[in-house]
């Protein structure tokens, strides 16, 4: 159905994580930048129909079909459709509201407030009860039709290849590829939880409460949607559909060959600095050895917040105050740094910026 040349090109482009993520990030910011035009049904409908047609044509490819039809992966395909639909709905409401707000009208949610009020009993409880019954039926029928995989008993000597976390942890598993276990498994999840919990304390702007808007809250909405859509949902996609045997990257129409050879010799920043740049042996003292990486970290987390306070965030800084600003900017730099570290691995095979294998401290 699909021309081989197209499949070849897609495999070539989309088996590179750097290119795929760059395309996704570019598409993400394009949609937010032109959100009023992109969310119009005239644009959004042909776009989604085109993607659905492409998906249906792709099913004819046996390699594509094997991956999407795995019982574990079917819900992920549905989830991607659902996330896309809900994101479109939210942005569409925001676009309509922003037009109303510009004309001096109240947001749509403010109209007909009396009609919106219903009783918990019976209106809400009935609806919830019916939803519960429908969900149970769907789950039962689904689990009968798509036999959930029961694998052989666990054996410590045999790890499945590829060995994948449950789908909702695939983003975390992807992060583990680029960081030391304690960073990706302990520090980053803790920071995510603390960061989400800190949002009400960092963000004291009351605009956007209770109604959809993008124009009034561009920074907050962009940051949140980037974290959710790119760093969570897209990493789930990546872990499900791109990671194959030996945790190598594969294109959408590529055969998951266990012998696919990818030279990925990864190099620490200290090795880049001393061996490639200065052309000398690694210093024996580990503090001297890791000095370049420590300097990079100090500049990134120590100096950059102050520079940004005077430049990009000079409007935010006075209104937020020092403490609130520092919390916000360090969480922000953490998110950006995580993406930057992934790019450094993909493009330069950079392993760790600071590597103390002596103390299990690698960043």
């Amino acid at each position: 159905m699909l021309p081989e040349a197209f499949k070849e090109a897609a495999n070539h482009l989309l088996s590179s994580a750097a290119i795929t993520v760059s395309l996704v990030i570019a598409f993400f910011f394009l949609c937010l930048w032109q959100y009023r035009k992109v969310t119009k049904p005239v644009v959004a409908l042909p776009l989604s129909l085109g993607l659905i047609v492409l998906f249906c044509l792709s099913i004819s490819d046996p390699n594509f079909f094997i991956i999407i039809s795995k019982s574990d992966n079917v819900p992920i395909v549905l989830m991607l459709v659902l996330v896309g639909g809900c994101t479109w709905w939210g942005l569409r409401q925001a676009a309509l509201n922003d037009e109303r707000l510009e004309k001096g009208l109240p947001p749509m949610e403010a109209d007909n407030r009396e009609d919106d009020k219903v009783y918990v009993w019976p209106d809400l409880v009935y609806a919830e009860f019916i939803a519960l019954i429908i969900c149970s039926i769907v789950l039962i029928v689904w689990s009968i039709l798509l036999a959930a995989p029961l694998e052989q008993p666990a054996n410590p000597a045999r790890t499945p290849n590829p060995s994948k976390a449950p789908w909702y942890f695939l983003g975390l598993q992807e992060m583990l590829v680029y960081f030391d276990p304690w960073i990706a498994g302990v520090v980053l999840p803790t920071l995510i939880i603390i960061g989400l919990g800190a949002i009400p304390y960092i963000d004291k702007n009351p605009k956007g409460n209770g109604y959809y808007t993008f124009k009034e809250r561009p920074f907050a909405v962009t940051i949140y949607m980037f974290g959710f859509l790119v760093l969570w949902v897209f990493l789930v996609y990546m872990g499900t559909f791109m990671r194959g045997p030996n945790w190598n990257f594969f294109g959408p129409y590529e055969y998951w060959d266990i012998h696919k050879l990818e030279p990925l010799t990864s190099v620490n920043l200290s090795e880049y600095f001393y061996m490639r740049l200065l052309g000398r042996a690694m210093p024996a003292n580990f503090l001297v050895r890791e000095a370049p990486g420590l300097l990079v970290l100090a500049v990134y987390f120590g100096l950059l917040p102050l520079v940004l306070a005077k430049t990009c965030f000079r409007k935010f800084y006075p209104s937020m105050g020092f403490l609130r600003y520092m919390v916000m900017i360090n969480l922000f730099l953490g998110v950006v740094g995580m993406v930057a570290k992934m790019y450094l691995r993909w493009i330069f095979n950079l392993k760790y910026i600071v590597a103390f294998p002596e103390f299990f401290f690698n960043i």
Binding site: N155, P156, A157, R158, T159, P160, N161, P162, S163, Q173, L176, V177, Y178, F179, D180, P181, G185, P245, N246, W247, N248, I258, H259, L261, P263, L264, T265, S266, N349, K351, Y352, A355, P357, E358, F360, N362
Partner: protein, 216 residues
Amino acid sequence: MPPENPVNPVPPAGPPSPAGASPPAPAGTGSKLPVPPATAAARPAAAGAEDLSRRKFLGLISWSGLGWAAFSAASGVGSIATGRFMFPNVLYELPATVKVGPPDDYPSDDVYEKYKDSNGVWIVRDAGQITALITVCTHLGCTPNWLPNEGKIKCPCHGSGFRRNGINFEGPAPRPLERAKIVLLEDGNMMVDKARKFQYEKGEWNDPDSFIPVTA
């Protein structure tokens, strides 16, 4: 509209009180002295809530005491059972020591997987040494696979890669695989003891117990 009480009008802000109807004596309290209605009407809000006699109080104490005792006993038994669960009768661990035969069984530079499933070690002959590499990835502890065509050990969980000698060179693994103790016995067989481990980054691979020299 509820009918107004002409005898004892309830104040508009006050809570409706059954004592407002002013019965002659509260029934069922067991008290022989009739409570004057004026006293009950003076504390209309407290009359229902704080009618706690000594008998009721002691009853309450003993029932809640019994409840707490039962709860404590159940929690205690649960804690002991949980603690016991932490020390199982049988522990399915791979045996720590194994005889792996004479060095002649490993004639060429290669990774030998014979003892991977049973003991979790690869016997590796490389660069004039026979070593026992432990089959646990140093990143998060999955069991990697030896890929003979690529000549590397590759972890299926996060893509860490190790050379034949156990040195990490790709993916996130921060340090090389660990060696187990390997010694040549007097009967000519080699024995691997996983209880003693040797880490490259600590310089322990120079330890004579961590390899057996062979002519390359």
